[in-house]
Symmetry: C2
Subunit: 303 residues, 2 copies
């Protein structure tokens, strides 16, 4: 195996009792434990690695505070249900996320990765689960300069989550090889990121971000029943906008309609918010003032 690169001060919490109702061994058993993050902890027969059979969440940690923890836990539970995984003990997961963040040396921006797999092949079905917290780069530079985005066909119709739920669209699974492949395709086209489009022409989401579009003074995002993730950062941004009295909506947006927007952003837990500066090679106006205003609010979240 290749040497693991130096990742100073990453913290790793392994969750021993991920399932709701699993018996505690005593008052000292909190259901998880800190382990050495440099040591391998995953077995080669874990279904997370042999089949990408599991789910995850990425959480931002700003000045020590885990952002949108409850929203992430709710989405984790939703993904678990979509994959027929055992019901998770969200109290244990919540405590594990907080412990993983608290154990990390202070830093302005941390990224937390919460992973749950179906466990090992031929095992008793107990999920494998962990939370890893590590420093992340300051997302400020791409917030100022914007990102070049290309639209790519996701191959599915916009209604596939309803017609074919076994395709797991809308669950945040570990089977993200395509979400990585499209970034390589974007790079080949000279772009930084991707906007997925359904095979019937509707705008969906990025491989690790939600789209927000501004039309005049209104903000909109693709409807979350299109087999896409309900973005925790998009939801937080809409809360901020609504508190300012700005109208927001969830819509069925064709790519052509998105091309009429006055400004476009990709939002996600780690990067928070990045303005789109070009779409399929066409330059786009970066709304610097609104980007910073939203960024301040998003980064300022302490829960």
């Amino acid at each position: 195996m290749p040497a693991v690169p130096a990742a100073p001060a990453a913290t790793l919490v392994v969750i021993d009792r991920p399932e709701l109702g699993s018996p505690s061994s005593g008052p000292d058993d909190v259901g998880f434990r800190l382990v050495d993050p440099e040591q391998p902890t995953v077995h080669v027969t874990d279904l997370g690695v042999t089949r990408g059979d599991g789910i995850f969440e990425g959480l931002g940690v700003v000045d020590g505070a885990v952002q949108a923890l409850e929203a992430h836990l709710r989405r984790l539970a939703r993904s678990a249900a979509m994959l027929d995984l055992p019901e998770l003990d969200l109290d244990v997961f919540r405590a594990a996320c907080l412990a993983s963040a608290a154990a990390h040396e202070p830093a302005p921006f941390l990224l937390q990765k919460l992973v749950v797999t179906r466990g090992v092949e031929g095992g008793d079905g107990t999920p494998t689960a962990w939370v890893r917290t590590a420093v992340m780069d300051d997302p400020a530079p791409e917030r100022r300069e914007g990102i070049a985005v290309v639209s790519l066909d996701r191959g599915y119709r916009h209604d596939v989550a309803e017609t074919s739920p076994w395709l797991l669209q809308g669950a945040k699974t570990l089977s993200y090889a395509v979400n990585r492949s499209v970034l390589r395709e974007a790079a080949r086209r000279g772009a930084d990121d991707v906007l997925f489009v359904s095979s019937d022409g509707y705008t969906l989401e990025g491989p690790s971000a939600s789209l927000i579009a501004r039309f005049g003074d209104r903000y909109t995002t693709p409807r979350t029943d299109l087999g896409i993730l309900a973005g925790t950062t998009q939801a937080a941004a809409f809360e901020v906008l609504e508190a300012r009295g700005i109208p927001v909506s969830y819509e069925l947006l064709t790519l052509d309609r998105v091309r009429e927007a006055d400004a476009l952003w990709l939002v996600s837990s780690g990067r928070q918010i990045a303005p789109i500066s070009s779409l399929d090679g066409a330059a786009w106006t970066v709304d610097g003032v609104e980007t910073e205003r939203l960024a301040d609010a998003l980064i300022g979240r302490r829960e």
Copy 2:
């Protein structure tokens, strides 16, 4: 993490030099080594587990002989190219597969799993790779009784591998959560396995097997340019049939056309060959004589 279940006599070979052209440290450096299969060897930051970002092959080992090893290595290289992974040193992989099989205590049927991931996040890009060999159940019972199969929409058009190569259809990736999810859907419908159908009505493959259909005295299988895997066992079966002078073909088959077949089989490296005894609830005639004849030839392969 849950305890790893007892898997007596599994062998695990970790490949230290998966890349073509990586320097050997000396004459004793064969590029791989046997490790304890019970110990975790995968890091939580491995892209194989965090993103399902890697590829695999499953190889049958009968009476100690690794079957279709060259065909599997060729397909592994093809999958690696489709995922823009580094070019693999197939000589090292070949030797690792043979060593993993040779180290195993003798058994009539073994299954070998060869995995290559994109390595660890933030690493130098060196793939993580291993070969695990373990006993498998004798596939004879389901060969006699047949399997109940349901057809399920894969959500993609039949030509998506050509129009949208970033969807990685036709590569054997670790992102197989859907291939597992459809088996749970099949179980809910009282079936054992699945036949994927394209969104425009063409028959594709099973989640871990190829389809072979007999129409009269002719055998056919779906064309392998439909974003499906070129099956190593299907190819071996067609070689056997052709040697007997029986006509075989690769076709674009609608599901309606498949329903007119006289006999249907799913074939794969582990299970070898299983006759379909029902399709979407309709009983199907199991061609027991031909199944056993093909099974004898497939199981009899010693390379």
